[in-house]
């Protein structure tokens, strides 16, 4: 059964140096405030995993939390580059960042295999792309019935998954709705999980499009209203598109980035 704890406790107990940490959220329900807590607790040498690393991953990378990034699309959607991500890859600042990149379909299926207790997944993918040569983690397998060759990717089973959801009940059952990306798979693929939520309710009432994670499949729930800002939480608040745009200027230089992080993350409590 999930324990309901503070975000500080959840990160302190469940995220260790050197862990592989998936923070999922496909443009919606991105666990920004949980990422800030990981930064404040000065975790190091993490392997970060996410289909769509955006601002919170830019921040984690810029603060030197990660040794490695597993991803499939890293940008500021509709705005442009992730400058901290680029600075790490192009210039090794603040540390060099190993990357393993996939297509969305490939990394998604790594999560699916992980959630399914399978060692790998097959897909029609990657054919004819440079990714096959550049990424060690793509192989092929033959169909034992038709002889066709398909791409194979290994399961990913992170140490910890961190996601944000709209609500949990007092028992730790979680419900999210709207775009739910690959969050269920990330939680089910991982050894441990932290779910930050907008609200804790007595009883969950199922919503249209509601995806429920039963409490016994979650390790910890933390009540973190606004935990997805500047991304959004359908039913609670909208995407702060202006902030995504502002991030372009904030993150472009190392100095303005660090000073923003100092003021807005390090000096702020959980």
């Amino acid at each position: 059964m999930a324990e309901i704890v503070s975000l500080r406790e959840a990160v302190a107990e469940l995220v260790g140096d050197g862990d592989t940490v998936a923070m999922e959220g496909f443009s919606h329900l991105i666990p920004h405030l949980a990422g800030h807590e990981v930064i404040r607790q000065e975790r190091r040498h993490l392997t970060l995993v996410r289909l769509t690393p955006d601002l919170i991953f830019d921040q984690l990378i810029g603060m030197g939390v990660a040794d490695k990034l597993v991803f499939s699309w890293g940008g500021n959607p509709g705005v442009g580059s992730l400058h901290r991500f680029r600075d790490a890859i192009e210039n090794g600042w603040p540390t060099s960042l190993e990357i393993e990149e996939h297509s969305h379909a490939g990394l998604t299926n790594r999560f699916v295999a992980g959630a399914s207790g399978l060692p790998f997944a097959i897909l029609r993918g990657y054919a004819g792309t440079g990714l096959v040569e550049r990424v060690g983690n793509i192989k092929s397998v033959q169909c034992p019935f038709t002889g066709e060759t398909l791409a194979a990717v290994p399961a990913i089973n992170p140490d910890v998954a961190i996601i944000h959801a709209q609500q949990a009940d007092v028992h730790g059952n979680v419900q999210m709705w709207g775009l739910t990306g690959v969050q269920k798979e990330a939680v089910l693929a991982s050894s441990r999980s932290i779910v930050t939520v907008e609200e804790i309710v007595q009883t969950i009432e199922l919503r249209p499009g509601g995806v429920v994670l039963p409490t016994w499949a979650v390790t910890a729930v933390a009540h973190v209203p606004g935990g997805a800002h500047p991304s959004y939480a359908s039913g609670f608040y909208e995407r702060d598109n202006a902030f995504y745009s502002e991030w372009e200027a904030i993150s472009r230089s190392r100095e303005s980035f660090l000073s923003w992080m100092e003021r807005n993350v390090l000096e702020v409590g959980a």
Binding site: P77, G78, S103, V211, R239, N241, S245
Partner: protein
């Protein structure tokens, strides 16, 4: 090369607007279209607002049949989910909807394209020491492989039309005739590349991109100058009909309602 500015010039429309409108015209009512963010999303939504109201838009974030009234900034804006016929998980979008080949048109952009319409969205420069690290593959490799056909939108210049690519992120016609078949790809590949200068289509025999249409006021020579290889040109390139007032009005209305923060 006076056509690369963003002003409307004396034609009353910009090259970017012509590109969006030319692309929108190619989408047919009732088609199912897998849409990337940015220029493809603009064109697809323009098509929905004009000649293809029944165009079905699929976004990789999980939206099937999205009917946004404002242009989304990201592929996961709330507007897309709220207006969709169905919202599904990302695994389902890729495994059940894209992979089996049930999507009519995949609509892609890119940073670089080569003469066989292969695309790069990964790096400029060497992979291990990139000059510019781009966002990466996203949904593109499987969109390029699995959709029944692919349409590409890209501004044409010697920086974008290159041979060879710095990195091949997703496949067009690979190394030429037979490449897609050898790779077991089911979709038929790029049907056309729509740029701010004109339209290129693969030669039926060689698969090489061939300039078949020029937008109003653009010369063959201008297109050649904006291409990093010796551009194949059809014997008599058509001239794209200029945007109608209705097309321009719809496009400008859509763009005016785009959320703050968009840089393209």
């Amino acid at each position: 090369m006076t056509r690369t500015g963003s002003g409307t010039g004396n034609l009353g429309f910009t090259p970017s607007e012509m590109m969006s409108i030319a692309a929108a015209r190619e989408l047919r009512d009732g088609q199912v279209c897998f849409v990337g963010i940015g220029a493809p999303s603009t064109a697809a939504n323009l098509a929905r607002a004009t000649q293809a109201p029944g165009l079905v838009l699929i976004y990789e974030s999980g939206c099937i049949g999205a009917k946004p009234t404002t242009l989304p900034l990201s592929i996961g804006d709330g507007e897309l989910a709220d207006t969709a016929d169905a919202v599904v998980s990302v695994p389902e979008i890729f495994n059940y909807w894209l992979q089996p080949g049930r999507i009519d048109v995949g609509f892609l952009g890119a940073a670089q394209i080569d003469r066989f319409a292969n695309l790069n969205t990964t790096v400029i420069g060497p992979y291990d020491r990139p000059e510019v690290r781009l966002p990466g593959a996203g949904g593109a490799p499987e969109i390029a492989g699995s959709c029944k056909e692919v349409m590409i939108m890209i501004k044409q210049s010697r920086r974008t039309f290159v041979d060879p690519l710095d990195f091949r992120t997703s496949i067009g016609f690979g190394d030429g005739p037979g490449s897609r078949e050898r790779l077991g790809l089911r979709g038929s590949g790029p049907r056309m590349v729509i740029t701010d200068l004109g339209i290129l289509r693969p030669d039926p025999d060689s698969c090489e991109l061939t300039l078949t249409d020029l937008h109003p006021g653009v010369s063959v020579e201008a297109a050649r100058q904006a291409t990093g290889w010796e551009l194949a040109v059809a014997p008599e390139p058509r001239v794209t009909p200029a945007p109608t007032e209705a097309e321009l009005a719809h496009l400008r209305h859509l763009v005016s309602k785009r959320p703050q923060g968009s840089s393209k």
